[in-house]
């Protein structure tokens, strides 16, 4: 097309036309005629108007972009809906926790026409709804409210038949725990939105699951890998069952028991009574239902003597042939340290262990000194909070001022409160050849454990401690757990509980640690009871050997075959080959000459 410039073609033409047209047509034409010399102001006006228009549009766009979303229904639903969680399995793949789908019914109050009618119909179909509460919810100006979560198929059908506009269904995930209270303390609990609020469930959320859900990823159970715990469901059940029987029999207030794999640090079984059903998370928060293995801190009593003796051997202050004066009570100002089974003579180190001599343990610890004692306990992880996957943990209770008396009493397990699992970690390190391995609740192999393990004592020290544990099961206080074929080693612990600032001898906390088998350690079993009572058949004794020891023995007998550890029929030949180096020459064979 030919473009005409204003000078040549257009100008004369318009002029000619202007001459013959009527006046009003000319005005109209002038109004629409564009001439760069005459209509500059008009063009500017139009340009300004358009600029303003575009500015308004741009401003509006920016406003809409920055304004928080008018909550769309879909978004509101996806935010409110219970998120999917990975299944939790035990070490053999048995289900400990899983998601199932169920339906929930919700409403969009803005779309409900007759609120009173809706309330009436809904409460008729779902009788457990509170009418006032529902009326208030539907009267709100929200775009989305839950009416009831987790309804049955029949209820869903009935609500559907009501045909109320603005009432809809949403599929949700619901967490179920098929084993009830078994392993409850490890699993923890979830709330109605399927968020972990305790235990491993909370740990899973901390691993990024909550972030993924929050970012709007639609997670389904299919695209989440299940989590394998270190627990063995059947072992855990038996541990809980034996503990329950023991608590019932000895009328204890509470108790706890666990099995730790000393080579991998895996917790194979753990129970703490009283416990709760994870499906009812309210109970999980009651203070009586705390996990006594990781959250409760206790004076572990004589089981701590193992640490004191190991420390003295490790520091080369003593060996198994050393002798300790337990002739008289140890006096510190107004404190006097007595022996429960007083021998009133000079004891050898193995005798300190088997007679559970407080004086002997205190003297051994004092040989190392206050600083050495603290360093050793810190190295063994007894002075700092132990962190496992479980979010709940407790700081040990240490003496405010660590004096010589503190060292003397802590040497036999009084004055330092630690979580029982923490004590198990330390004793496990003394047993497994000297590697401190932080316990885990997730499945792991011995190689992975070795990578995080820290050497804390020499292998010879570990062997000496295994020998002492075994000796104690043969001739000492741990006979209750000496199950034939398992070469069990053990140590009892009976600590008087502090009551109104005094140690009350009628309120005790008894613990028992058993190592299975002593020559090639695999599992460390702990049983603990809070305030067990003496019974006629125990001669009125409430010491650990009678109650916690019996429970630990029953656990060994029932669980070990289940864990694939068969009983051996011949006692091991040379279970402790390095003993001659440690000063034991005469007692080389199963400690037959210990007394």
């Amino acid at each position: 097309m030919h473009v005409t410039t204003p000078d040549d073609g257009l100008e004369p033409k318009t002029k000619a036309a202007g001459a013959e047209l009527p006046r009003w047509r000319r005005i109209l034409r002038d109004l629409f005629r564009t001439r760069i010399d005459k209509s500059a102001s008009r063009i500017r006006l139009v340009a300004t108007l358009f600029s303003c228009l575009f500015l308004i549009i741009a401003g509006r766009l920016i406003y809409l972009g920055t304004k928080p979303d008018p909550q769309s229904l879909k978004r509101a639903v996806s935010e409110a809906v219970a998120a999917a969680r990975p299944a939790i399995l035990d070490r053999n793949g048995e289900v400990l926790a899983a998601d199932v789908q169920n339906m929930s019914v919700y409403a969009e109050p803005r779309r409900i026409l007759d609120k009173d009618e809706a309330v009436e119909l809904l409460t008729a179909v779902l009788p457990d709804l509170d009418a006032n509460d529902l009326r208030e919810k539907l009267g709100s100006r929200k775009g989305f409210v839950w009416i009831k979560r987790g309804i049955s198929r029949r209820e869903q059908q009935e609500v559907f038949r009501l045909g109320l506009p603005g009432v809809n269904f949403q599929r949700e995930n619901k967490r179920i725990y098929p084993n009830g209270p078994v392993a409850a303390h490890v699993l923890g609990a979830t709330n109605v939105d399927n968020q972990g609020i305790a235990g491993i469930e909370k740990y899973i959320d901390g691993q990024g699951l909550a972030d993924l859900n929050g970012a709007g990823f639609r997670l389904t159970p299919e695209n989440l890998n299940p989590i394998n715990l270190s627990l063995d469901l059947h072992a855990t059940y038996i541990v809980r069952e034996e503990l329950r029987k023991g608590i019932e029999k000895f009328k204890a207030k509470a108790g706890a028991a666990a099995i730790l794999d000393v080579n991998t640090g895996e917790v194979i079984a753990m129970a703490s009574l009283p416990d709760f059903d994870p499906s009812n998370p309210v109970d999980a928060l009651k203070s009586d239902n705390i996990d006594r293995m990781t959250v409760g801190v206790y004076e572990m009593g004589s089981t701590f003597k193992a640490l004191s003796i190991a420390m003295a051997i490790e520091a080369n202050k003593a060996n198994l042939a050393s002798r300790v004066d337990a002739h008289t009570s140890l006096r510190y100002g107004r404190f006097t340290i007595h022996d429960f089974h007083a021998q009133n003579r000079i004891l050898s180190v193995p005798e300190v262990f088997t007679y559970s001599s407080n004086i002997g343990a205190a003297r051994l610890a004092l040989m190392v000194g206050v600083d050495g004692h603290q360093d050793f306990l810190r190295k063994m992880g007894q002075l700092d909070r132990m962190r496992t996957e479980l979010p709940e943990s407790a700081e040990p209770l240490k003496p405010k001022r660590w004096s010589e008396i503190s060292t003397a009493t802590i040497a036999f397990g009084q004055g330092l409160n630690v979580a029982p699992l923490q004590a198990m970690m330390a004793v496990g390190a003394l047993m497994n050849g000297g590697y401190l391995i932080t316990p885990t609740f997730l499945k792991r192999s011995a190689e992975e454990a070795r990578k995080v393990a820290v050497r804390v004592v020499r292998p010879e020290t570990s062997e000496a401690m295994r020998y002492l544990m075994r000796l104690n099961a043969e001739v000492g206080s741990a006979k209750a757990a000496d199950k034939k074929g398992y070469f069990v080693g053990g140590k009892t612990g009976t600590a008087d509980k502090q009551f109104h600032g005094h140690y009350a001898s009628d309120r005790v906390l008894t613990t028992f640690m058993a190592i299975v088998p002593s020559d090639q350690p695999r599992y460390l079993v702990l049983a603990m009871m809070d305030e067990p009572q003496g019974l006629p058949e125990t001669g009125g004794y409430r010491t650990a050997a009678w109650n916690s020891g019996a429970v630990a023995g029953a656990i060994v007998e029932r669980v070990m075959p289940l864990l694939g550890l068969p009983p051996r029929f011949d006692p091991p030949v040379q279970p402790f080959p390095d003993l001659p180096k440690l000063g034991v020459t005469a007692l080389n064979n199963n400690g037959s000459g210990a007394h």
């Binding site: 289900v95 098929p178 084993n179 009830g180 159970p221 059940y237 038996i238 074929g485 029932r558 075959p561």
Partner: protein
């Protein structure tokens, strides 16, 4: 000729349009099928999850123990009940004990029951039967 070509072109156009439409509708049909099957799969997954949970609930040790205590005469396993393969006694040579007993009693020998030798009409004496 030109007219024929035009007609042909129009026919081809209509034909290809029809073909394209049929493919389009088929695609829609199949994508609907896919969505439907996905829903079915989801539903089956949910059902499997529910069944697995139910199974886990039914085989929980607590319940099995209660059932075993009620219906079975079994005791808890004791350690002395576990033996090595070597300690299992060798299997005995298979012996026909009943046969031996009969032999010892002399029952396998021919009996001295007197035989009725008088011939009968139909010949059905027990001794004559084979």
């Amino acid at each position: 000729m030109i007219r024929f070509l035009n007609a042909l072109a129009i026919m081809a156009l209509i034909g290809s349009a029809l073909y394209a439409y049929s493919i389009k509708y088929e695609t829609i049909f199949y994508s609907e099928q896919i969505v439907k099957i996905r829903h079915d799969i989801d539903r089956e997954h949910d059902a499997i999850a529910v069944l697995e949970a139910e199974w886990a609930h039914l085989i929980r040790p607590e319940r099995i123990q209660a059932l075993a205590d009620k219906h079975l005469d079994l005791q808890p396993q004791a350690l002395n009940q576990i033996v090595r393969p070597n300690d299992v006694p060798e299997r005995q040579v298979k012996v026909d004990m009943i046969g031996r007993k009969l032999e010892a009693l002399g029952l396998s020998e021919p009996t001295s029951t007197p035989i009725d030798i008088t011939p009968t009409d139909n010949g059905t004496t027990p001794s004559s039967q084979q």
